[in-house]
Symmetry: C2
Subunit: 233 residues, 2 copies
Amino acid sequence: MNVLILHAHPEPQSFSSALYLEAKKFFEQKGDTVQVSDLYAMNFNPVASTSDFNERANPDYFNYALEQRKSLKADTIADDIKDEIAKVEAADLLIFNFPMYWFSMPAILKGWIDRVFVSGKFYGGTRIYAKGGMTGKKALVSITTGGRKDMLSSSGIHGDINDILKPLLQGSLGYVGMEVFEPFHAFHVPYISAEARAELLEKWRSELANLDERKKMDMPDLSKFDEYFHPIT
Amino acid sequence: MNVLILHAHPEPQSFSSALYLEAKKFFEQKGDTVQVSDLYAMNFNPVASTSDFNERANPDYFNYALEQRKSLKADTIADDIKDEIAKVEAADLLIFNFPMYWFSMPAILKGWIDRVFVSGKFYGGTRIYAKGGMTGKKALVSITTGGRKDMLSSSGIHGDINDILKPLLQGSLGYVGMEVFEPFHAFHVPYISAEARAELLEKWRSELANLDERKKMDMPDLSKFDEYFHPIT
Protein backbone atom coordinates (compact mmCIF):
# COMPACT_ATOMS: atom_id res chain seq x y z
CA MET A 1 0.00 0.00 0.00
CA ASN A 2 1.10 3.57 -0.70
CA VAL A 3 0.22 6.07 2.04
CA LEU A 4 0.38 9.88 1.82
CA ILE A 5 0.28 11.78 5.09
CA LEU A 6 -0.62 15.47 5.02
CA HIS A 7 0.40 17.20 8.23
CA ALA A 8 -0.22 20.82 9.21
CA HIS A 9 0.99 21.78 12.68
CA PRO A 10 3.69 24.40 13.32
CA GLU A 11 5.08 22.73 16.49
CA PRO A 12 6.98 19.45 15.95
CA GLN A 13 6.53 18.55 19.64
CA SER A 14 2.73 18.94 19.54
CA PHE A 15 0.34 16.06 20.03
CA SER A 16 -0.84 16.55 16.45
CA SER A 17 2.77 16.02 15.33
CA ALA A 18 2.95 12.90 17.53
CA LEU A 19 -0.09 11.51 15.69
CA TYR A 20 1.60 12.22 12.38
CA LEU A 21 4.88 10.56 13.40
CA GLU A 22 3.05 7.58 14.89
CA ALA A 23 1.13 7.02 11.65
CA LYS A 24 4.32 7.30 9.62
CA LYS A 25 6.06 4.74 11.86
CA PHE A 26 3.06 2.41 11.84
CA PHE A 27 2.80 2.15 8.06
CA GLU A 28 6.58 1.99 7.55
CA GLN A 29 6.86 -0.90 10.02
CA LYS A 30 4.01 -2.64 8.21
CA GLY A 31 6.08 -2.44 5.02
CA ASP A 32 3.96 0.17 3.26
CA THR A 33 5.42 3.00 1.21
CA VAL A 34 4.90 6.27 3.09
CA GLN A 35 5.10 9.72 1.53
CA VAL A 36 4.69 12.81 3.68
CA SER A 37 3.79 16.42 3.10
CA ASP A 38 4.66 18.16 6.34
CA LEU A 39 3.31 21.50 5.13
CA TYR A 40 4.91 23.74 7.76
CA ALA A 41 8.29 22.02 7.32
CA MET A 42 7.93 22.44 3.53
CA ASN A 43 6.97 26.10 3.92
CA PHE A 44 4.12 25.28 1.53
CA ASN A 45 2.49 28.22 -0.25
CA PRO A 46 -1.30 27.93 0.23
CA VAL A 47 -2.42 30.84 -1.95
CA ALA A 48 -4.09 29.94 -5.26
CA SER A 49 -2.90 32.64 -7.65
CA THR A 50 -1.76 33.53 -11.15
CA SER A 51 1.77 32.42 -10.28
CA ASP A 52 0.57 28.80 -10.17
CA PHE A 53 0.82 28.73 -13.96
CA ASN A 54 4.04 29.11 -15.95
CA GLU A 55 1.94 30.17 -18.91
CA ARG A 56 -1.54 31.67 -18.89
CA ALA A 57 -4.19 30.23 -21.17
CA ASN A 58 -6.05 33.53 -20.81
CA PRO A 59 -3.78 36.41 -19.72
CA ASP A 60 -6.69 38.90 -19.75
CA TYR A 61 -9.07 37.23 -17.31
CA PHE A 62 -8.02 34.84 -14.55
CA ASN A 63 -10.33 31.88 -14.02
CA TYR A 64 -8.49 29.54 -11.67
CA ALA A 65 -10.29 26.29 -12.61
CA LEU A 66 -9.95 26.95 -16.35
CA GLU A 67 -6.23 27.69 -15.99
CA GLN A 68 -5.83 24.48 -13.98
CA ARG A 69 -7.43 22.42 -16.74
CA LYS A 70 -5.37 23.95 -19.52
CA SER A 71 -2.08 23.97 -17.62
CA LEU A 72 -2.49 20.28 -16.78
CA LYS A 73 -2.71 19.45 -20.47
CA ALA A 74 0.09 21.84 -21.40
CA ASP A 75 2.25 20.73 -18.45
CA THR A 76 2.69 24.34 -17.35
CA ILE A 77 1.46 24.07 -13.76
CA ALA A 78 3.81 25.18 -10.96
CA ASP A 79 6.33 22.55 -9.86
CA ASP A 80 5.23 22.46 -6.23
CA ILE A 81 1.67 21.66 -7.30
CA LYS A 82 2.88 19.04 -9.78
CA ASP A 83 4.88 17.33 -7.03
CA GLU A 84 1.86 17.16 -4.73
CA ILE A 85 -0.44 15.88 -7.48
CA ALA A 86 2.05 13.07 -8.17
CA LYS A 87 2.01 12.13 -4.48
CA VAL A 88 -1.79 11.97 -4.45
CA GLU A 89 -1.88 9.92 -7.65
CA ALA A 90 0.53 7.38 -6.17
CA ALA A 91 -1.39 7.07 -2.90
CA ASP A 92 -3.96 4.43 -2.00
CA LEU A 93 -4.64 6.03 1.38
CA LEU A 94 -4.38 9.72 2.31
CA ILE A 95 -4.25 10.86 5.91
CA PHE A 96 -5.12 14.49 6.72
CA ASN A 97 -3.67 15.29 10.16
CA PHE A 98 -4.18 18.73 11.67
CA PRO A 99 -5.44 20.76 14.66
CA MET A 100 -8.87 22.33 14.35
CA TYR A 101 -8.51 26.06 13.59
CA TRP A 102 -11.84 27.90 13.53
CA PHE A 103 -13.99 24.78 12.94
CA SER A 104 -11.75 23.97 9.97
CA MET A 105 -8.21 23.29 8.76
CA PRO A 106 -5.26 25.65 9.22
CA ALA A 107 -5.02 27.81 6.07
CA ILE A 108 -1.79 26.10 4.99
CA LEU A 109 -3.75 22.85 4.55
CA LYS A 110 -6.88 24.48 3.12
CA GLY A 111 -4.69 26.06 0.46
CA TRP A 112 -3.03 22.72 -0.29
CA ILE A 113 -6.49 21.53 -1.35
CA ASP A 114 -7.24 24.78 -3.23
CA ARG A 115 -4.06 24.38 -5.31
CA VAL A 116 -3.59 20.60 -5.58
CA PHE A 117 -7.14 19.33 -6.20
CA VAL A 118 -7.00 20.57 -9.79
CA SER A 119 -9.96 20.77 -12.11
CA GLY A 120 -9.71 18.34 -15.00
CA LYS A 121 -8.05 15.63 -12.92
CA PHE A 122 -9.63 15.57 -9.45
CA TYR A 123 -13.08 16.55 -10.74
CA GLY A 124 -14.62 18.27 -13.72
CA GLY A 125 -18.07 19.06 -15.05
CA THR A 126 -20.33 16.37 -13.64
CA ARG A 127 -17.48 14.08 -12.59
CA ILE A 128 -17.90 14.45 -8.83
CA TYR A 129 -18.55 12.14 -5.86
CA ALA A 130 -18.70 8.52 -7.10
CA LYS A 131 -17.71 9.77 -10.57
CA GLY A 132 -14.86 11.95 -9.25
CA GLY A 133 -11.32 11.68 -10.49
CA MET A 134 -9.93 10.09 -7.32
CA THR A 135 -12.18 7.06 -6.92
CA GLY A 136 -10.42 4.01 -5.55
CA LYS A 137 -8.48 6.08 -3.01
CA LYS A 138 -9.32 6.19 0.68
CA ALA A 139 -8.98 9.17 3.03
CA LEU A 140 -8.74 9.40 6.79
CA VAL A 141 -8.89 12.66 8.74
CA SER A 142 -7.25 12.86 12.17
CA ILE A 143 -7.97 16.03 14.06
CA THR A 144 -6.99 17.46 17.42
CA THR A 145 -9.27 19.93 19.20
CA GLY A 146 -9.22 22.16 22.24
CA GLY A 147 -12.92 21.56 22.89
CA ARG A 148 -14.25 18.52 24.72
CA LYS A 149 -16.07 15.71 22.90
CA ASP A 150 -19.43 16.66 24.45
CA MET A 151 -19.05 20.26 23.22
CA LEU A 152 -18.50 18.97 19.67
CA SER A 153 -21.42 16.50 19.64
CA SER A 154 -24.94 16.96 18.29
CA SER A 155 -26.34 18.01 21.69
CA GLY A 156 -23.28 20.11 22.53
CA ILE A 157 -22.75 23.84 22.24
CA HIS A 158 -20.91 23.75 18.89
CA GLY A 159 -22.74 20.79 17.27
CA ASP A 160 -21.38 17.54 15.83
CA ILE A 161 -17.74 17.67 14.76
CA ASN A 162 -18.37 15.64 11.61
CA ASP A 163 -21.01 18.14 10.47
CA ILE A 164 -18.50 20.91 11.16
CA LEU A 165 -15.97 19.03 9.01
CA LYS A 166 -18.39 18.64 6.08
CA PRO A 167 -16.45 21.02 3.79
CA LEU A 168 -13.45 18.69 4.08
CA LEU A 169 -15.11 15.26 4.44
CA GLN A 170 -17.80 15.68 1.79
CA GLY A 171 -16.97 18.94 -0.01
CA SER A 172 -13.34 18.07 -0.76
CA LEU A 173 -12.45 14.38 -0.19
CA GLY A 174 -15.81 12.83 -1.05
CA TYR A 175 -16.33 15.37 -3.85
CA VAL A 176 -13.30 14.07 -5.77
CA GLY A 177 -14.42 10.46 -5.32
CA MET A 178 -12.39 9.27 -2.35
CA GLU A 179 -13.92 6.86 0.16
CA VAL A 180 -13.83 8.76 3.42
CA PHE A 181 -13.37 6.94 6.72
CA GLU A 182 -14.99 8.15 9.93
CA PRO A 183 -12.44 10.68 11.27
CA PHE A 184 -10.17 10.07 14.24
CA HIS A 185 -10.90 12.74 16.86
CA ALA A 186 -8.46 13.65 19.64
CA PHE A 187 -10.48 16.01 21.83
CA HIS A 188 -9.32 18.51 24.44
CA VAL A 189 -5.64 17.74 23.87
CA PRO A 190 -4.12 20.94 25.35
CA TYR A 191 -5.75 20.07 28.69
CA ILE A 192 -5.29 16.32 29.12
CA SER A 193 -2.58 14.42 31.02
CA ALA A 194 0.45 12.71 29.53
CA GLU A 195 -1.23 9.39 30.38
CA ALA A 196 -4.39 10.36 28.51
CA ARG A 197 -2.26 11.39 25.52
CA ALA A 198 -0.42 8.05 25.59
CA GLU A 199 -3.77 6.26 25.61
CA LEU A 200 -4.97 8.32 22.65
CA LEU A 201 -1.78 7.45 20.73
CA GLU A 202 -2.37 3.76 21.49
CA LYS A 203 -5.98 4.11 20.31
CA TRP A 204 -4.70 5.74 17.10
CA ARG A 205 -2.26 2.86 16.45
CA SER A 206 -4.98 0.32 17.09
CA GLU A 207 -7.46 2.08 14.79
CA LEU A 208 -4.83 2.32 12.03
CA ALA A 209 -4.33 -1.44 12.39
CA ASN A 210 -8.06 -1.99 11.84
CA LEU A 211 -8.80 0.35 8.94
CA ASP A 212 -10.33 -2.49 6.92
CA GLU A 213 -13.24 -2.59 9.34
CA ARG A 214 -13.56 1.17 9.77
CA LYS A 215 -16.89 2.77 8.98
CA LYS A 216 -17.06 5.11 6.00
CA MET A 217 -18.97 8.36 5.73
CA ASP A 218 -22.10 8.50 3.60
CA MET A 219 -21.77 10.64 0.49
CA PRO A 220 -24.47 11.99 -1.83
CA ASP A 221 -25.90 9.17 -3.96
CA LEU A 222 -25.63 10.13 -7.63
CA SER A 223 -28.37 7.65 -8.58
CA LYS A 224 -30.85 9.97 -6.87
CA PHE A 225 -29.99 12.84 -9.22
CA ASP A 226 -30.17 13.22 -12.98
CA GLU A 227 -27.26 14.21 -15.20
CA TYR A 228 -27.80 17.89 -14.28
CA PHE A 229 -27.94 17.05 -10.55
CA HIS A 230 -31.67 17.66 -10.31
CA PRO A 231 -33.25 15.27 -7.78
CA ILE A 232 -35.02 12.33 -9.44
CA THR A 233 -38.49 12.23 -7.93
CA MET B 1 -21.03 53.71 10.50
CA ASN B 2 -17.61 52.15 9.96
CA VAL B 3 -17.52 49.30 7.46
CA LEU B 4 -14.67 46.85 6.85
CA ILE B 5 -14.80 44.83 3.63
CA LEU B 6 -12.71 41.68 3.38
CA HIS B 7 -12.28 40.58 -0.21
CA ALA B 8 -10.53 37.47 -1.51
CA HIS B 9 -10.63 37.00 -5.28
CA PRO B 10 -7.52 36.96 -7.51
CA GLU B 11 -9.27 38.48 -10.58
CA PRO B 12 -10.23 42.19 -10.30
CA GLN B 13 -12.70 41.78 -13.19
CA SER B 14 -14.56 38.87 -11.54
CA PHE B 15 -18.16 39.08 -10.41
CA SER B 16 -16.95 38.60 -6.84
CA SER B 17 -14.78 41.71 -7.27
CA ALA B 18 -17.79 43.55 -8.71
CA LEU B 19 -19.73 42.74 -5.52
CA TYR B 20 -16.83 44.07 -3.46
CA LEU B 21 -16.57 47.32 -5.44
CA GLU B 22 -20.33 47.79 -5.40
CA ALA B 23 -20.45 47.45 -1.61
CA LYS B 24 -17.55 49.87 -1.24
CA LYS B 25 -19.29 52.43 -3.46
CA PHE B 26 -22.63 51.93 -1.73
CA PHE B 27 -21.35 52.67 1.76
CA GLU B 28 -19.09 55.50 0.63
CA GLN B 29 -22.00 57.22 -1.13
CA LYS B 30 -24.07 56.77 2.01
CA GLY B 31 -21.38 58.67 3.92
CA ASP B 32 -20.03 55.74 5.90
CA THR B 33 -16.34 55.20 6.54
CA VAL B 34 -15.15 52.25 4.49
CA GLN B 35 -11.97 50.29 5.12
CA VAL B 36 -10.96 47.48 2.82
CA SER B 37 -8.70 44.46 3.02
CA ASP B 38 -8.37 43.25 -0.54
CA LEU B 39 -6.29 40.24 0.46
CA TYR B 40 -4.92 39.31 -2.97
CA ALA B 41 -3.99 42.92 -3.71
CA MET B 42 -2.28 43.12 -0.28
CA ASN B 43 -0.45 39.84 -0.90
CA PHE B 44 -1.65 38.89 2.58
CA ASN B 45 0.23 36.06 4.29
CA PRO B 46 -2.34 33.52 5.54
CA VAL B 47 -0.02 31.13 7.41
CA ALA B 48 -0.19 31.22 11.20
CA SER B 49 3.41 30.64 12.30
CA THR B 50 6.18 31.50 14.74
CA SER B 51 7.05 34.56 12.66
CA ASP B 52 3.79 36.19 13.76
CA PHE B 53 5.51 37.14 17.02
CA ASN B 54 8.45 39.49 17.32
CA GLU B 55 9.27 37.85 20.65
CA ARG B 56 8.30 34.41 21.80
CA ALA B 57 6.75 33.95 25.24
CA ASN B 58 7.85 30.32 25.11
CA PRO B 59 10.68 29.73 22.62
CA ASP B 60 10.78 25.98 23.41
CA TYR B 61 7.21 25.01 22.59
CA PHE B 62 4.96 26.85 20.17
CA ASN B 63 1.33 27.17 21.24
CA TYR B 64 -0.26 29.64 18.82
CA ALA B 65 -3.15 30.80 21.03
CA LEU B 66 -0.89 31.29 24.07
CA GLU B 67 1.61 33.30 22.02
CA GLN B 68 -1.27 35.43 20.69
CA ARG B 69 -2.46 36.24 24.19
CA LYS B 70 1.00 37.15 25.47
CA SER B 71 2.07 39.08 22.39
CA LEU B 72 -1.09 41.18 22.53
CA LYS B 73 -0.21 42.29 26.05
CA ALA B 74 3.47 42.79 25.23
CA ASP B 75 2.66 44.49 21.90
CA THR B 76 4.97 42.11 20.04
CA ILE B 77 2.54 40.77 17.47
CA ALA B 78 3.46 41.10 13.76
CA ASP B 79 2.59 44.48 12.21
CA ASP B 80 0.33 43.07 9.49
CA ILE B 81 -1.81 41.33 12.11
CA LYS B 82 -1.87 44.46 14.28
CA ASP B 83 -3.12 46.52 11.34
CA GLU B 84 -5.94 44.10 10.63
CA ILE B 85 -6.97 43.89 14.28
CA ALA B 86 -7.21 47.69 14.36
CA LYS B 87 -9.47 47.62 11.30
CA VAL B 88 -11.78 45.07 12.93
CA GLU B 89 -11.89 47.03 16.18
CA ALA B 90 -12.92 50.18 14.32
CA ALA B 91 -15.63 48.41 12.32
CA ASP B 92 -19.35 48.28 13.11
CA LEU B 93 -20.05 46.05 10.13
CA LEU B 94 -17.72 43.50 8.49
CA ILE B 95 -18.39 42.13 5.03
CA PHE B 96 -16.70 38.89 3.98
CA ASN B 97 -16.77 38.68 0.19
CA PHE B 98 -15.30 35.66 -1.59
CA PRO B 99 -15.88 32.83 -4.07
CA MET B 100 -16.61 29.38 -2.64
CA TYR B 101 -13.48 27.24 -2.82
CA TRP B 102 -14.09 23.65 -1.71
CA PHE B 103 -17.24 24.41 0.34
CA SER B 104 -15.26 27.11 2.16
CA MET B 105 -13.18 30.26 1.84
CA PRO B 106 -10.03 30.62 -0.28
CA ALA B 107 -7.05 29.88 1.99
CA ILE B 108 -5.92 33.52 1.91
CA LEU B 109 -9.14 34.49 3.75
CA LYS B 110 -9.19 31.44 6.04
CA GLY B 111 -5.68 32.39 7.15
CA TRP B 112 -6.74 35.99 7.74
CA ILE B 113 -9.11 34.59 10.38
CA ASP B 114 -6.46 32.19 11.75
CA ARG B 115 -4.04 35.08 12.30
CA VAL B 116 -6.29 38.07 13.06
CA PHE B 117 -8.95 36.57 15.36
CA VAL B 118 -6.47 36.50 18.23
CA SER B 119 -7.03 34.74 21.50
CA GLY B 120 -7.35 37.12 24.43
CA LYS B 121 -9.18 39.76 22.39
CA PHE B 122 -11.61 38.05 20.01
CA TYR B 123 -12.34 35.21 22.44
CA GLY B 124 -10.77 33.50 25.39
CA GLY B 125 -11.61 30.78 27.88
CA THR B 126 -15.39 30.79 28.14
CA ARG B 127 -15.80 34.17 26.41
CA ILE B 128 -17.41 32.90 23.22
CA TYR B 129 -20.66 33.47 21.30
CA ALA B 130 -22.75 36.10 23.17
CA LYS B 131 -19.81 36.59 25.56
CA GLY B 132 -17.22 36.82 22.76
CA GLY B 133 -14.87 39.75 22.40
CA MET B 134 -16.52 41.20 19.28
CA THR B 135 -20.11 41.64 20.48
CA GLY B 136 -21.82 44.72 19.09
CA LYS B 137 -20.36 44.17 15.63
CA LYS B 138 -22.31 42.80 12.70
CA ALA B 139 -21.05 40.53 9.94
CA LEU B 140 -22.36 39.83 6.45
CA VAL B 141 -21.00 37.11 4.18
CA SER B 142 -21.38 37.48 0.40
CA ILE B 143 -20.37 34.43 -1.56
CA THR B 144 -20.26 33.49 -5.23
CA THR B 145 -20.60 29.85 -6.29
CA GLY B 146 -20.31 27.76 -9.44
CA GLY B 147 -23.12 25.47 -8.29
CA ARG B 148 -26.79 26.27 -8.78
CA LYS B 149 -29.04 27.27 -5.87
CA ASP B 150 -30.96 23.98 -5.97
CA MET B 151 -27.68 22.01 -5.72
CA LEU B 152 -26.78 23.97 -2.58
CA SER B 153 -30.16 23.62 -0.83
CA SER B 154 -31.27 21.10 1.77
CA SER B 155 -32.78 18.77 -0.83
CA GLY B 156 -29.92 19.29 -3.27
CA ILE B 157 -26.88 17.16 -3.96
CA HIS B 158 -24.49 19.14 -1.76
CA GLY B 159 -26.89 20.21 1.01
CA ASP B 160 -27.77 23.66 2.32
CA ILE B 161 -25.13 26.33 1.68
CA ASN B 162 -25.56 27.88 5.12
CA ASP B 163 -24.83 24.52 6.78
CA ILE B 164 -21.77 24.24 4.57
CA LEU B 165 -20.71 27.72 5.75
CA LYS B 166 -21.13 26.86 9.45
CA PRO B 167 -17.37 27.00 10.17
CA LEU B 168 -17.40 30.66 9.10
CA LEU B 169 -20.90 31.79 10.14
CA GLN B 170 -21.01 30.11 13.55
CA GLY B 171 -17.50 28.80 14.17
CA SER B 172 -15.72 32.08 13.44
CA LEU B 173 -18.02 35.13 13.24
CA GLY B 174 -20.65 34.00 15.75
CA TYR B 175 -17.98 32.43 17.96
CA VAL B 176 -16.34 35.81 18.61
CA GLY B 177 -19.69 37.42 19.37
CA MET B 178 -20.65 39.12 16.13
CA GLU B 179 -24.27 39.23 15.01
CA VAL B 180 -24.29 37.36 11.72
CA PHE B 181 -26.70 38.31 8.96
CA GLU B 182 -28.15 35.72 6.57
CA PRO B 183 -25.50 35.52 3.83
CA PHE B 184 -25.89 36.97 0.35
CA HIS B 185 -25.55 34.12 -2.17
CA ALA B 186 -24.72 34.66 -5.84
CA PHE B 187 -25.15 31.21 -7.36
CA HIS B 188 -23.86 29.80 -10.64
CA VAL B 189 -22.04 33.01 -11.57
CA PRO B 190 -19.58 31.57 -14.13
CA TYR B 191 -22.55 30.40 -16.22
CA ILE B 192 -25.09 33.23 -16.09
CA SER B 193 -25.67 36.06 -18.55
CA ALA B 194 -24.49 39.66 -18.23
CA GLU B 195 -28.14 40.61 -17.61
CA ALA B 196 -28.47 38.09 -14.80
CA ARG B 197 -25.24 39.45 -13.28
CA ALA B 198 -26.55 43.00 -13.49
CA GLU B 199 -29.74 41.89 -11.73
CA LEU B 200 -27.71 40.21 -9.00
CA LEU B 201 -25.69 43.41 -8.48
CA GLU B 202 -28.92 45.38 -8.21
CA LYS B 203 -30.24 42.84 -5.68
CA TRP B 204 -26.98 43.24 -3.71
CA ARG B 205 -27.33 47.04 -3.62
CA SER B 206 -30.93 46.75 -2.55
CA GLU B 207 -30.15 44.26 0.21
CA LEU B 208 -27.31 46.46 1.48
CA ALA B 209 -29.79 49.32 1.68
CA ASN B 210 -32.09 47.19 3.85
CA LEU B 211 -29.63 45.63 6.28
CA ASP B 212 -31.63 46.89 9.26
CA GLU B 213 -34.42 44.46 8.39
CA ARG B 214 -32.15 41.57 7.42
CA LYS B 215 -32.59 38.28 9.25
CA LYS B 216 -29.77 37.14 11.53
CA MET B 217 -28.48 33.59 11.95
CA ASP B 218 -29.27 31.72 15.14
CA MET B 219 -26.27 31.09 17.37
CA PRO B 220 -25.88 28.69 20.29
CA ASP B 221 -27.76 30.02 23.33
CA LEU B 222 -25.36 30.25 26.27
CA SER B 223 -28.26 30.22 28.75
CA LYS B 224 -28.80 26.56 27.86
CA PHE B 225 -25.29 25.62 29.03
CA ASP B 226 -23.52 25.93 32.37
CA GLU B 227 -20.20 27.73 32.89
CA TYR B 228 -18.34 24.65 31.61
CA PHE B 229 -20.60 24.41 28.53
CA HIS B 230 -22.40 21.36 29.80
CA PRO B 231 -26.06 21.40 28.69
CA ILE B 232 -28.41 22.49 31.47
CA THR B 233 -31.11 19.83 31.64
